[in-house]
């Protein structure tokens, strides 16, 4: 008992000292990854989020990797998506983060705080990026350093429930439709399908960056580190949704809350109550598996400069800045994006492969749902050749920003504020968030 209490006291004291001297990140990591270096054996910890299927295929890919690199042992840790970032943040804060981990759209926040490994020294040797789309590589270059390797490409498109279109007797829209067409089709669908069935979800928040890009603006200008839009730019977008909603073509604000479009257990796309929404291509399979209505992906309505849709990263890998084995981290990343065997195992669960070679490889064996995804992504791939767009970066403070955007959309939807007032508050709030996260 005494010994235990002594140990505890000591630890308490150490904690106190560490806290007061300003949480030392390098000191605490020692205990967890003492991969016995003397035998040349290296142990890496890797963390990801997701469901059971993802865990299974990820482990299988890791197994193959360890067979190919017998001197590297990977400790896979996965967390349900609901707690992943809490856990990652706790580990980063206490200096015990895994050597390599997945990040999503919030990667900018981490890149700004110097916790991610700079991968530039390994490019060309351990890490071969030649087969990767240049825009995808660029996406991982944050604040001038390569800090992130996309592990799956996505292209957002309009998901269409074909059964509802047929039921309404409306032909599928032209591929090069515009936003007015979109509003009109939505209204027609709502009118013809009757009570409780709607043309489209309101994707003010998810589609904001696309709309801005269609007008030559963007959410966040990574190069200059500034916001990429002005208040007026964003006001049109909120106005558009307000008008389309009052015409009746859009899911009501209430249902938007109770049945978020991206939650497969609740989405009205699955229950056949909404005909269209904006969807990242890698989610199509998950949606299709829960409904018998055929779903397809259709191009996003065009603005003055085109669709604004490019390949973007659905999620990707980053190394921990304090990892003891940066080289092995780079080797694992290389395997993840380039190895054909890995590509076959991983499929398009995290998005389609980021290298063209692996995309072609998978397309050969694609099932009917994946076929739709590949057709759509190659369409996007073609379009970007004639209408190039920059990758979208989320602004720093992304979680807070997207919460604010959602609240703004709801304030308008529930009639709490006029569009002008809501947008003015939104813009001020965005500037404030942006400044406090610089």
């Amino acid at each position: 008992m005494l010994k235990r209490s002594m140990v505890g006291m000591l630890a308490g004291l150490m904690l106190f000292v560490t806290a007061c001297s300003g949480t030392d990140h390098t000191g605490a990591g020692g205990d967890t990854d003492n991969g016995a270096a003397e035998s040349g054996q290296v142990e890496l910890r890797m963390m990801w989020w997701g469901d059971q299927k993802r865990a299974d295929i990820t482990n299988e890919a890791l197994k193959v990797f360890q067979e190919k690199h017998p001197n590297i042992k990977i400790m896979g840790e996965f967390s349900p998506s609901s707690g992943y970032f809490d856990k990652l943040n706790t580990q980063l804060a206490s200096g015990t983060a895994p050597d390599i981990f997945f990040l999503g759209g919030n990667v900018v926040d981490y890149a700004k705080k110097n916790v991610l490994l700079d991968l530039d020294p390994y490019v060309g040797s351990e890490l071969n990026l030649d087969g990767m789309d240049p825009t995808m590589v660029e996406y991982g270059r944050l604040d001038g350093k390569l800090q992130h390797i996309s592990a799956g490409a996505n292209a957002r498109g309009i998901v269409i429930n074909q059964a509802l279109f047929e039921k309404a007797g409306i032909p599928l829209p032209e591929p090069n439709w515009n936003w007015e067409d979109y509003a009109a089709v939505s209204k027609e669908l709502s009118d013809k399908l009757g009570d409780g069935i709607f043309g489209t979800y309101n994707f003010t928040v998810d589609g904001m960056d696309i709309y801005l890009k269609q007008r030559g603006k963007q959410l966040y200008n990574m190069e200059n580190g500034t916001l990429g839009f002005a208040k007026e730019d964003i006001q049109e977008w909120f106005q558009y949704w307000e008008e389309t909603s009052s015409a009746g073509g859009v899911v009501t604000p209430e249902m938007q809350v109770s049945n978020p479009h991206d939650d497969t257990s609740k989405s009205l796309l699955i229950t056949g109550k909404a005909a269209m929404s904006l969807l990242p291509s890698n989610q199509l399979a998950a949606f299709q598996s829960l409904t018998e209505d055929p779903l397809i992906l259709h191009p996003v309505p065009r603005g003055p400069k085109g669709t604004g849709v490019v390949f973007e990263s659905s999620q990707g890998l980053s190394g921990y800045a304090n990892t003891k084995h940066p080289k092995e981290v780079a080797i694992l990343m290389d395997f993840w994006i380039n190895d054909p065997q890995a590509a076959k195992i991983l499929g398009s669960d995290r998005g389609v492969p980021v290298t063209e070679a692996n995309r072609n490889l998978l397309q050969e064996e694609a099932g009917p749902v994946e076929e739709i995804v590949y057709q759509y992504t190659s369409l996007v791939s073609e379009a970007t050749k004639s209408e190039p767009f920059d990758v979208s970066y989320n602004p720093p403070g992304f979680a807070e920003f997207s919460k604010l955007a959602q609240t703004t959309s709801q304030e308008i939807g529930f009639g709490r504020k006029s569009v002008e007032q809501a947008v003015a508050d939104f813009y001020n709030g965005t500037v404030r968030i942006f400044e406090s996260n610089q």
Partner: protein
């Protein structure tokens, strides 16, 4: 007279059953839906399944990465059982001191004990994680169990303080006259009279440890250490292909142990242990 009595009784049963049904509806939905095929879970609004399948139980039980739910259940049972023993012993000791003994700084310690549960745990999580990491307790059950053995659940201390204070003091006074010391008074007089509170503590500790998700998720990463709650959450990814059927099936199964525990232990409230022998 007997007829009226019977009517009153029947009415009482009816009311209790009716309210009970309202209480139970969500649980019934959960159980019955776990037998529906995946496509029907959210589209079929009737309570009784139109199609019946056991697949979810079979698939769900397989677990993750070759570790079956059986392992998760035994892990959860271990954590809950050890937590129960720890809480019952350590909290009753502390409660006895606070309710019956006189000592220096008693009110100060008592206030501190209460204050420790007033701080939302989210802000102590990071320092606590650093501490447990220094002790090399990450990926062990120590962070989940040891605080229980060291009476850090003030809820139960206060619970037992309240119950002990309900026990007439004349009992220990007469025992003191008979020459009993404080330890004897505690074990021979207070503990037997405290059984309802001890049972309550045991039930709650068991269930709350069983249902706890956040700290299990933070401190456990190795799949063979996973608990039932972690296993269930791993079936669930709102934007991905959640296996809803397996999720509901395993949620149903996870209710079984706690329900049994409750059903078994609640009998102790029926037997008037505390009241007999008291004057």
């Amino acid at each position: 007279m007997p007829l009226k009595r019977q009517l009153v009784q029947a009415g009482r049963h009816a009311a209790i059953i009716l309210l009970g049904l309202a209480m139970l509806y969500p649980v019934l939905w959960l159980i019955l839906s776990s037998f529906k095929p995946n496509q029907l879970i959210f589209t079929d609004s009737s309570l009784i399944p139109t199609a019946f399948t056991l697949d979810h139980y079979v698939n769900g039980w397989k677990g993750l990465q070759g570790i079956s739910f059986g392992r998760f259940f035994s892990n959860s049972l271990l954590i809950s059982a050890l937590s129960v023993i720890g809480n019952v012993i350590s909290c009753s000791l502390a409660a006895y001191a606070f309710s019956r003994l006189k000592f220096k700084f008693k009110s100060l310690w008592f206030s501190i004990m209460l204050v420790t549960i007033m701080l939302p745990y989210h802000v102590t999580l990071v320092p606590q994680y650093i501490l447990y990491n220094e002790l090399q307790w990450i990926n062990t059950y120590f962070p989940l169990i040891l605080p229980k053995w060291l009476a850090q659940d003030s809820f139960f201390i206060l619970l037992m303080v309240q119950f002990i204070r309900g026990i007439p003091r004349e009992l220990d006074e007469s025992a003191t006259i008979d020459g009993c010391g404080q330890p004897q008074i505690f074990f021979r007089i207070v503990v037997p009279l405290l059984v309802p509170a001890l049972i309550t503590t045991a039930i709650f500790t068991f269930i709350w440890s069983w249902d706890d998700f956040f700290s299990q998720m933070i401190y456990l990463s190795k799949i063979d250490l996973f608990t039932v709650q972690l296993g269930i959450r791993s079936l669930f990814d709102p934007s991905g292909q959640s296996d809803w059927g397996a999720l509901l099936a395993m949620s149903t199964l996870s209710l079984l142990p706690v329900t049994i525990i409750f059903l078994v232990f609640q009998r102790y409230f029926l037997e008037g242990i505390a009241t007999t022998g008291l004057k």
